[in-house]
């Protein structure tokens, strides 16, 4: 898939939709409407949009605890997502999952996940299913740098490589694992370097630059789709907020965060790229932001006005009704 103005505009728009969705969710938390916690993706948007711009609707995506961006970039509706964060009956998971479990199976977005590293095996499994069925679907797994320490990473990638499955492993290396800098708990700096152990290509990209992500992923997706097997792509990125809401962030300085916001905001980087090519006027830019803002305002209103799940919902969806099986 070659890079077009249209593609860029879509990525740029989706970054704004993600950014404003999260800022609104954060605001709704302060209002007491969103409960639990949020793992904010702000700052990392270029990874989700750069990856998903290469995917078809029927390609599979699995996410992490920090997956608002992955869901929106794969096409999830912001109003149903916001309703899920509120715990309303109209949410993507009918209020049963919340922020850490947003999923939309109609888009083959098989879910965010509360367990670090838990998506890597299942994504390799969706790829196995595609191989068995002989489809040309690609599976993409997002995971953090912390997840690369889990056995699931090693076990699943080893099989993905063994059977040359159509999967792209996308590590979002934001340099932190909850409240710990990666360097305190990992010897290998670049997760891409670990690809060699599985004899698959490993590439590290600047995860703040949607274009760079897009191009490297395009190659990995093409390889996977044509039977060339898995790749491991590390996107070096940065989260602008704390690990989750309420994080005091004693492990990093305010200067560091401010510097990244100033120099590595993925929205600014893509805007500059498009402006240079005359692909985005300031009027276009205003319109993108205006539309995204309106959409998110409507999403919040939808969530607020939606009904709560009924008490009987507590006991539904635990199992499929067995009477219909035998």
């Amino acid at each position: 898939m070659s890079l077009t103005q249209e593609k860029c505009l879509k990525m740029y728009t989706d970054m704004w939709r993600i950014r404003l969705f999260e800022e609104e969710a954060n605001r709704q938390t302060n209002l007491g409407n969103v409960v639990g916690t949020l793992h904010m993706y702000c700052g990392e948007e270029a990874v989700a949009v750069g990856v998903c711009a290469n995917l078809r609707d029927d390609d599979y995506v699995l996410g992490t605890h920090r997956s608002h961006g992955h869901c929106i970039a794969k096409g999830a509706q912001s109003d149903k997502m916001m309703a899920e964060l509120f715990g309303k009956a109209t949410g993507t998971c009918r209020g049963k999952g919340g922020s850490m479990h947003v999923a939309d199976f109609s888009l083959n977005m098989l879910g965010a996940n509360g367990i670090v590293g838990a998506g890597i095996g299942p994504t390799t499994g969706t790829a196995l299913a595609s191989k068995i069925r002989g489809t040309d679907q690609v599976s993409v797994c997002f995971f953090g740098d912390g997840a690369a320490a889990r056995g699931t990473f090693h076990e699943a990638i080893a099989m993905g490589s063994l059977w040359q499955l159509p999967v792209v492993y996308v590590c979002e290396n934001n340099g932190y694992q909850q409240w710990v800098p990666r360097k305190n708990v990992a010897v290998v700096d670049s997760v891409a370097d670990m690809a060699g152990s599985y004899s698959i290509p490993g590439v590290s990209v600047n995860g703040q630059d949607a274009i760079e992500v897009y191009e490297v992923i395009a190659e990995a997706v093409a390889r996977a789709r044509s039977g060339g097997g898995p790749s491991l792509i590390e996107a070096r990125t940065y989260r602008f907020y704390g690990h989750s809401l309420g994080d005091e962030q004693q492990y990093r300085t305010e200067e560091e965060v401010e510097e990244r916001k100033r120099n590595a905001d993925p929205i600014n980087i893509l805007r500059d790229f498009m402006t240079e090519r005359n692909w985005l006027t300031s009027a276009d830019d205003d319109q993108v932001q205006q539309r995204a803002g309106d959409e998110i305002t409507r999403a919040a209103k939808f969530a607020e006005e939606s009904p709560w799940p009924e008490m009987g919902e507590v006991g539904t969806d635990v199992l499929f009704d067995a009477k219909e099986v035998a």
Binding site: G95, G98, N184, V185
Partner: protein, 323 residues
């Protein structure tokens, strides 16, 4: 006696045991940088340098290393950030730690404590709210400890650290901020010794973890109805103090067993079965269990309130055994 919160009592126990015995060390995620989410390991790095290890996100590795270090004579105190993640280390707990002493004909000892923040806290849904006491009760070779107060937290953690066998130590998230009087210095609570948290004549309420506090609240409400409730806190589910429980049951003849976990095949079920077997002729009414329904924890606050048992559930259970 000093008044302190549950997490402070645990921290005190940990610090005291580390000062007492150089083989005690700490391992877990975020235990240095943040002192763990509940600050139980706060200050350890400063006071006991070289005896606290902040790990990668690798639960199987963490517990696996713990088993080995324990067999080599150390006393690891492991923090699993949320109990739910212990499922990532089930081989290490169930096939390794629990079986070693038996399989080696008594040669091996695995003096390891696995601390497990559990239950509902902030609303974080199905993968961050579980309890699983009965999973580990079912495994011979493990000890299952569930403190309900700051004092019990301190006394039981100190005993756990000195125990020569693995301990699954349950810390209910909602209990961390509860305050209570805690004895200073050397204070140990033996395993297999239940505590009568309130004496009464009419009904025995056996309460686990946070249900102790909720049962105490229920007892006050039930006073108005003229019922005098006895509350027994087993404190350790394995070993289980059947004697103290049965003594109370023989006195009252009516039993309610309360836990926050699902009562289906749950910790309360073992206690209810034990009572039915040992005290059948003393019972004046069928035993009633209080627990959550057999469902994963939902996210929506609106649904959660129908899952987690509260004092009102204890009140209605007592009314049932009295009617």
């Amino acid at each position: 006696m000093t008044v302190m919160a549950f997490n402070e009592a645990l921290r005190e126990a940990l610090h005291e045991e580390m000062a007492r015995d150089e083989s005690v060390f700490v391992m877990g995620e975020d235990v240095i940088t943040h002192g763990g989410p509940y600050k139980v390991t706060d200050g350890v790095a400063e006071k006991f340098p070289g005896r606290i290890f902040e790990t990668p996100i690798a639960e199987a590795g963490i517990v696996g290393l713990g088993v080995g270090a324990a067999m080599a004579g150390m006393n690891p105190v492991i923090e699993i950030m949320y109990l739910d993640f212990i499922t990532c280390a089930m081989d290490e707990v169930v096939n390794q730690a629990a079986k070693m002493r038996y399989m080696t004909g008594g040669q091996a000892s695995v003096p390891m404590v696995v601390r497990l923040p559990c239950g509902v806290g902030r609303l974080l849904a199905a993968q961050h709210s579980q309890i699983m006491e009965s999973w580990f009760m079912h495994v011979p070779g493990l000890q299952v400890v569930v403190p309900s107060t700051p004092a019990d937290g301190k006394g039981l953690l100190k005993t756990a650290i000195r125990s020569p066998d693995p301990v699954m130590f349950f810390e209910y998230k909602r209990t961390y901020t509860h305050k209570g009087e805690v004895p200073e210095g050397e204070y140990l609570i033996p395993f297999g010794k239940a505590d009568v948290k309130r004496e009464g004549e009419d009904v025995t309420v056996i309460a686990i973890g946070p249900m102790v506090q909720k049962s105490l609240e229920a007892a006050v409400l039930l006073e108005d109805e003229g019922y005098d409730i006895e509350i027994v806190d087993p404190r350790t589910l394995s070993p289980l103090d059947t004697e103290t429980i049965c003594e109370s049951v023989r006195k009252t003849g009516r039993v309610v067993v309360c836990g926050e976990d699902s009562s289906f095949a749950g910790s309360v079920s073992e206690i209810a079965a034990m009572i039915a077997e040992s005290c059948f002729s003393d019972l004046k009414a069928p035993i009633v269990r209080v627990g959550s329904p057999h469902v994963p924890m939902p996210f929506s606050a609106e649904l959660v309130k129908h899952v987690v048992p509260e004092a009102a559930n204890v009140v209605s259970a007592v009314n049932r055994v009295m009617s």
